[in-house]
């Protein structure tokens, strides 16, 4: 190639390429489209060289400019077209008469009509715009056309080909020529139906939300108030609980709370108070691993436990007494209540047991009962005195009758007035009345021996002390003093006697002594009680007074029934006393005091067999 000339930029074609062209002369210029070399435009001559001149240069430049321009334009349209086709918005173009000139594929999708169906139609020609919005749309387009707006945006309702109503947002802009005449109107359209719906629902949701919020806030305020109240209550409750707890901790009664598992191995202890530990010996920790059954033992009354079980099974309150066992195995008497605890539905969730140790009370009760029996018997014997005088009266009747009949009979005989029949009758009466007297005596003895003898081993000093206790009232009444002279216990063998009866004898002797000294000046009313070992394994008890003493004949009759020196005496006390003593294998006798006035009664009892 001869002449290759390049115009324009530095870019040059490859020499080899040029050589391959088989051309004589070339004038070329790169064509720049968008700042890039698109290609080369050139004049070429196949024949030999040519000198390129200005005329060719300017022609080439102009041509390549035009060419470049055209290419650019094409590219731009292409690009634009591409975008228009692919834009997510529908792209519509209208001419000056508001007829569709462009209808993008997206518009087809949005509205349903194809481009072919709508190109050339005016918007009001078919049902594109919802009639209610037509006015607004017309207004917009007027403004565009009139030149009032360069662009505007409108949201209005449209119809689709299938008749559905959709809401679209229209972005419109107008293009005018130099004279201001409308060349075209471009519309971007977006189907905002869904969005609108979302917005509506959002609005209503928001409204709802606001309402709910308001409501919620109300509720929160309320709840807060409630909670505060509850907290206050709960504080109160906590405080009450604390107080109750402290009360439960302090009471003497043992409190045990168990779960509701009645069947073995239950029920399980869930709480015990300190009194429980004091009563049973089990600590609180130990108790929590136990069931109340451990408190029962060999001498626990099974019937009571069975009753407890029945009450638990039937959900009823239980109250009972039984023997319980402590941790160390010792026994104690317990009295206890068991009550169910129910939940809001009435179902039993726990059992509460309150226990009281009544060992002392039981012992005291038993002791009181024993004392009452003893007192009753002692009173009986001393009441026997009163009774005896009544009996004495009663005996007097038959005795008087006997006397009368017998004397009368004798008189009859004396006066020779007696007939055998008469006498027989009298004698019969005597016999009858004797019987009657006998029966009265029998009643008296029955009264005395009613209790029956209960012999046990006693220390005589103990009995003497108890006797003094029984005589408290008499000592006070008679204003006497009592002097005890008792040998120490280890010097006196125990005796096997009915303690009550011996005490009765001593009481009788003491009372006699008191009455004997009633006429003494106050400082000479001393009763002496002594207990000494006697001869031959006996115990000798002496009761001495400072009274006037007994005459020898009184001493003879002393122990006879109905013998008495008292105005209101019945004369049975010493008789009975002596028979009691003799019953025990002992002796009772009276003797004047060796020194000073008064009498001593000596009571001898055999020692118990070792």
């Amino acid at each position: 190639m001869s002449e290759i000339a390049a115009l324009g930029s530095d870019a040059t074609l490859d020499q080899a390429f040029l050589d391959s062209l088989s051309i004589g002369a070339l004038l070329y210029q790169p064509v720049l489209v968008g700042g890039q070399i698109y290609g080369y435009l050139g004049f070429n001559q196949f024949s030999s060289g040519r000198v390129w001149g200005d005329r060719e240069y300017s022609a080439l430049t102009a041509s390549s400019d035009l060419f470049a321009l055209a290419l650019e334009r094409q590219q731009t349209y292409g690009r634009l077209g591409f975008h228009v086709s692919n834009a997510p918005l529908g792209v519509l173009e209208w001419d000056g008469n508001l007829r569709i000139t462009r209808w993008s594929p997206k518009a087809e999708v949005i509205f349903g009509w194809t481009a072919a169906e709508v190109i050339g139609r005016n918007w009001s020609d078919w049902q594109l715009v919802h009639e209610d919005d037509a006015e607004a749309v017309a207004d917009i387009t007027d403004r565009l056309v009139a030149g009032d707006d360069l662009s505007n945006v409108l949201t209005n309702r449209n119809y689709t080909k299938s008749g559905d109503v959709i809401t679209c947002e229209w972005f419109n802009s107008v293009l005018r020529d130099r004279e201001g005449k409308v060349v075209s109107i471009l519309s971007f359209v977006q189907d905002v139906t869904q969005i609108q719906r979302y917005q509506e629902s959002l609005t209503s949701s928001r409204g709802e939300l606001e309402q709910r919020n308001a409501h919620l806030e109300e509720r929160v305020v309320q709840r807060t108030a409630e909670l505060e109240a509850v907290t206050e209550d709960s504080d109160e409750t906590a405080e009450r609980l604390r107080l109750i707890q402290s009360a439960v901790d302090q009471i003497d009664e043992s409190v045990t709370i168990t779960d509701n598992q009645i069947e073995a191995p239950g029920p399980h202890i869930v709480y015990v108070n300190p009194a429980f530990t004091a009563m049973t010996g089990y600590s609180s920790e130990e108790a929590l691993a136990l069931t109340p059954r451990v408190l029962q033992g060999p001498r626990t009354d099974r019937a009571v436990i069975a009753r407890l079980r029945r009450c638990l099974t039937q959900g009823r309150h239980f109250f009972g007494q039984a023997i319980n066992y402590r941790k160390d195995g010792s026994e104690y008497f317990v009295e206890w209540h068991v009550n169910p605890v129910r939940d809001a539905n009435g179902k039993i969730t726990h059992w509460v047991a309150i226990q009281r140790d009544i060992t002392k009370r039981k012992l005291a009760d038993d002791l009181a009962r024993v004392h009452r029996e003893e007192l009753a018997h002692v009173t009986r014997l001393s009441a026997m005195g009163e009774m005896a005088s009544g009996i004495a009266h009663e005996i007097n009747q038959p005795l008087a009758a006997i006397n009368n009949y017998a004397s009368g009979a004798l008189r009859h005989i004396d006066r020779d007035q007696a007939t055998v029949d008469d006498l027989a009758e009298a004698i019969r009466q005597v016999a009858d009345q004797s019987d009657r007297a006998g029966q009265i005596i029998r009643r008296l003895r029955a009264f005395v021996t009613k209790r029956g003898t209960r012999r046990a081993t006693h220390h005589i000093n103990e009995l003497i002390h108890e006797t003094i206790a029984l005589l408290e009232t008499d000592i006070f009444k008679h204003r006497t003093q009592v002097e005890l002279d008792l040998a120490p216990n280890d010097q006196l063998s125990p005796v096997h006697v009915d303690g009550i009866q011996i005490e009765q004898v001593l009481v009788n002797l003491a009372r006699n002594a008191f009455e004997a000294m009633d006429d003494n000046p106050p400082h000479e009313r001393k009763l002496k009680l002594s207990a000494r070992p006697g001869t031959a394994n006996n115990i000798e008890i002496t009761v001495s007074d400072q009274g006037p003493g007994l005459t020898p004949s009184q001493r003879d009759y002393l122990f006879d029934p109905f013998f008495t020196t008292k105005d209101e005496g019945m004369g049975m006390g010493l008789t009975i006393s002596q028979s009691i003593v003799q019953d025990h294998g002992g002796r009772l006798r009276a003797a004047p005091n060796p020194e000073g006035p008064g009498t001593s009664f000596h009571l001898t009892l055999p020692a118990a067999n070792p």
């Binding site: 007097n396 008087a400 009949y405 004397s407 009979a409 006066r415 009345q433 209101e568």
Partner: protein, 210 residues
């Protein structure tokens, strides 16, 4: 009205009651026995002025009518029944009560037959004496009733110690008249002496006062 001496016995014990009856009868007395004071009182109803002939043996413990009531009733009836009360051994209170109420004696159980019979005799004696005295008074009364009013006046004055002439002056009668009245009085009253007359007057006075 009992002409013979009767010993009344009151005792609630049948054996004692019957045996007492037997005993007292054996001593020769007539006996009527009662269970209680009421039945005895009913039996012993006395017309006024006629004392009962006999005595009463009663046990101090009387059911129904109390001992005191019994005595009161007897008093009302003017029965003049001397009573021996049987008391219990050593019952001093009862004995004192009985004596104060008017018993003539008491006896304690148990008693010997002789002790009782002795007391019954004493009581009967007293009864007899009383009866005699009462009869005597009745007689005097009767005689006094026979006096004329004037004679009574004179008797009253004589017994008062007035001399005849004083009486004559008091009554406005002559001395002689008074002497005549006086003689009549002595005769009708069967008084052998002034002293006797005075005694009779005293008796009458006592009777009125009672």
């Amino acid at each position: 009205m009992f002409t013979a001496n009767t010993v009344f016995v009151v005792d609630d014990d049948p054996a004692v009651r019957d045996s007492l009856k037997y005993l007292i009868e054996s001593a020769g007395h007539r006996v009527e026995a009662f269970e209680n004071a009421r039945s005895m009182i009913d039996r012993v109803r006395v017309p006024a002025g006629r004392p009962v002939s006999g005595c009463l043996v009663a046990d101090v413990r009387l059911p129904g009518m109390s001992g005191l009531d019994m005595f009161d009733r007897l008093q009302e009836m003017d029965a003049q029944l001397p009573t021996v009360v049987i008391t219990g051994h050593g019952d001093v209170t009862a004995a004192v009560r009985a004596m104060k109420a008017g018993a003539v004696d008491f006896i304690e159980k148990p008693f010997t037959d002789q002790a009782l019979l002795d007391r019954i005799n004493t009581a009967l004696e007293i009864n007899s004496v009383n009866r005699t005295a009462a009869e005597e008074v009745a007689k005097v009364e009767k005689r006094h009733d026979m006096l004329t009013p004037r004679e009574r006046q004179v008797m009253a004055a004589v017994v008062d110690g007035r001399l005849n002439k004083q009486i004559a002056a008091d009554l406005g009668l002559s001395h002689k008249t008074i002497e005549v009245h006086r003689a009549h009085v002595m005769e009708k009253m069967a008084a052998r002496s002034l002293a006797e007359l005075v005694r009779m007057a005293v008796l009458l006075e006592q009777k009125c006062a009672a």
